[in-house]
Symmetry: C2
Subunit: 390 residues, 2 copies
Amino acid sequence: MSAERWDSAVSRSDAPTAAGDARRYAPLPEPFVLERGGELRGGVVAYETWGRLNARRDNAVLLFTGLSPSAHAAASPEDPSEGWWERMVGPGKAIDTDRWFVVCVNSLGSPFGSSSPASIDPATGERWRLRFPEISIGDIATGGWWVLRHLGLARLAAVIGPSLGGMVVLAFVAKHPGVARSLVSISGSPGASPVAIALRSVQREAILRDPDWHGGQYAPDAPPRTGMRLARKLGTITYRSAAEWKDRFGRQRIARGGDQGIAPVREANAFAPEFQIEGYLEAQAEKFVRSFDANCYLYLSRAMDRFDLAPDEGERVRVLAHAGLESALVIGVESDFLFAIDEQEALAAALQAAGVATRFARLDSREGHDAFLVDIEGFDPPIRQFLAAL
Amino acid sequence: MSAERWDSAVSRSDAPTAAGDARRYAPLPEPFVLERGGELRGGVVAYETWGRLNARRDNAVLLFTGLSPSAHAAASPEDPSEGWWERMVGPGKAIDTDRWFVVCVNSLGSPFGSSSPASIDPATGERWRLRFPEISIGDIATGGWWVLRHLGLARLAAVIGPSLGGMVVLAFVAKHPGVARSLVSISGSPGASPVAIALRSVQREAILRDPDWHGGQYAPDAPPRTGMRLARKLGTITYRSAAEWKDRFGRQRIARGGDQGIAPVREANAFAPEFQIEGYLEAQAEKFVRSFDANCYLYLSRAMDRFDLAPDEGERVRVLAHAGLESALVIGVESDFLFAIDEQEALAAALQAAGVATRFARLDSREGHDAFLVDIEGFDPPIRQFLAAL
């Protein structure tokens, strides 16, 4: 991913803020009332776009992201740096910007331009931190809806989202029925599972109990590193799969003067990283500490736990039947530990039962939950075919 | 599990140390040289026994444990408290103490009586802490071998071990060929997988970076609680399965004045445990902080990472072919995330290729890695049948 810029000033102008920055900002209403009862004033949602809206205004596609990316899904003239879904979004690609006007939204609560615990409360000139109202997956969806309104778009050809975004698209069609003609949910979930809640709970606790978290009052250059490192290492483990790592790292040691076996001497630190897989986790963790904000992480993580499209199957079908969808694509990965394939299957079944023409793509990618970022060969065809048929 | 007593004084006598304590102690040689090059002086291995050795001295069964239990596998006249495998070990049970003389060993490095970082170095009168030599799975196996020697046992009908113990039994037959006639490896592994190494690496880091760890110099009543809690919560997640938790906890909230849905009001602490699965993790974590020692955890955890019976498949078969085994039972659980079923399958195949009459029991228990502690209905029959046929 390109360098992220959560420290840059948030402008409410609709022009990109700086050279190399393609973000635009849609204002939220005053106040923006959140699902859990809080209110946000001076709120904005950052977004980027690719392609052009056609004369009939019927070629818009809205893209929500996973937990950690920004709205920079792909390079553009304003920001030529590589985007988080560069191989999927662009001219001639599966999400073809020659045909579609693609809008990617930075989730409300994320530190990459949208209002979040890391952004400045205009009323005080201080960062919101924990005074930021609690957000839900539905609030993130509605943040995207305000971007559409800002752009004068009443209808979408499709709303697309992977991972956390795969939850957001469901909240979007439930809360704003009739806006999206079709939906693409990728490695998402119709309701957070207990094992995913458990993992996120441990990740949050690592941050909350890091003395450097300081009750959320850490300085931007002194974040709760240990907590963030642990959270991301654990995340990384659950984003990929055991089989991938077996092939990729096996039991290879980190090279140390050619020692590849069990050294018969005691090392300086018996618990220092010794296996290549440990070095890989280190790299992922350090990258995350540099690019993401701890308070934002806590908010988004908890919002995922609380997401449940409906409390039971019948109600789930009812909600989806009233969403105004013509068609849907659900993509799941068999090796996904975090958003298990049976959750994707249940979602596809509910859509079908709701009368939506649904395709369920069950992929055998070995990259687990993160496969949508890596296994483009697997993900390109179902997305390309689905969008081409719209 | 019953209350553990890692603070009690270690006696070298062979009589139980105290009322309600069934432990006996076998001395290690002076010095005990460890696989990674260190030396231990004044070392002991704690064990308990059930049943009686017969006149032919051919009915001994040696039992190694997982990471966290003591040698107290089952109740006995000396210690009537419930053991960690109470439903499996006893008169008429699958490991039938009417027939077998069962010896359960507390792993070297574990805090329940055997020499460990938490025990007293007789040379200094101080706890060993990080001066304790690095241990390997092979050293734990050899610790068990010295217990046999202490008891005057030259041969075993079977050596049995689950989880970490499932690794130890392999090291045992490799390092001490001809001692065990048969082997039972339960949810073990012939070589730690990268995903298991990754998980343990995160668990250790949580402890190592806890300021209360103090480089291993914490007081026994002021352990690195946060690190231990995080390590155990993560462990608990990987010991069970997503499917079990879905049925058992689902998305149920912790009862708070009857609030079972999304409350429209902001709670005092938005990140406090809210789901029942989080309460379950809390209980597991607190129990572990009270019962286990952090330095011991670090040593045993790293020893598991480093275990590899042999660097390749051919060598693995060669080692097993020279172990003197007549028969073997390998039990694996399909929902085991930590010691995956394909590792069990590979072990069974290697034993078979080594000319050992091998039975592979593939269980569909939904309790994951911990199933051997819980799903006695599933585990009793294969173990009972295997031992009955010896």
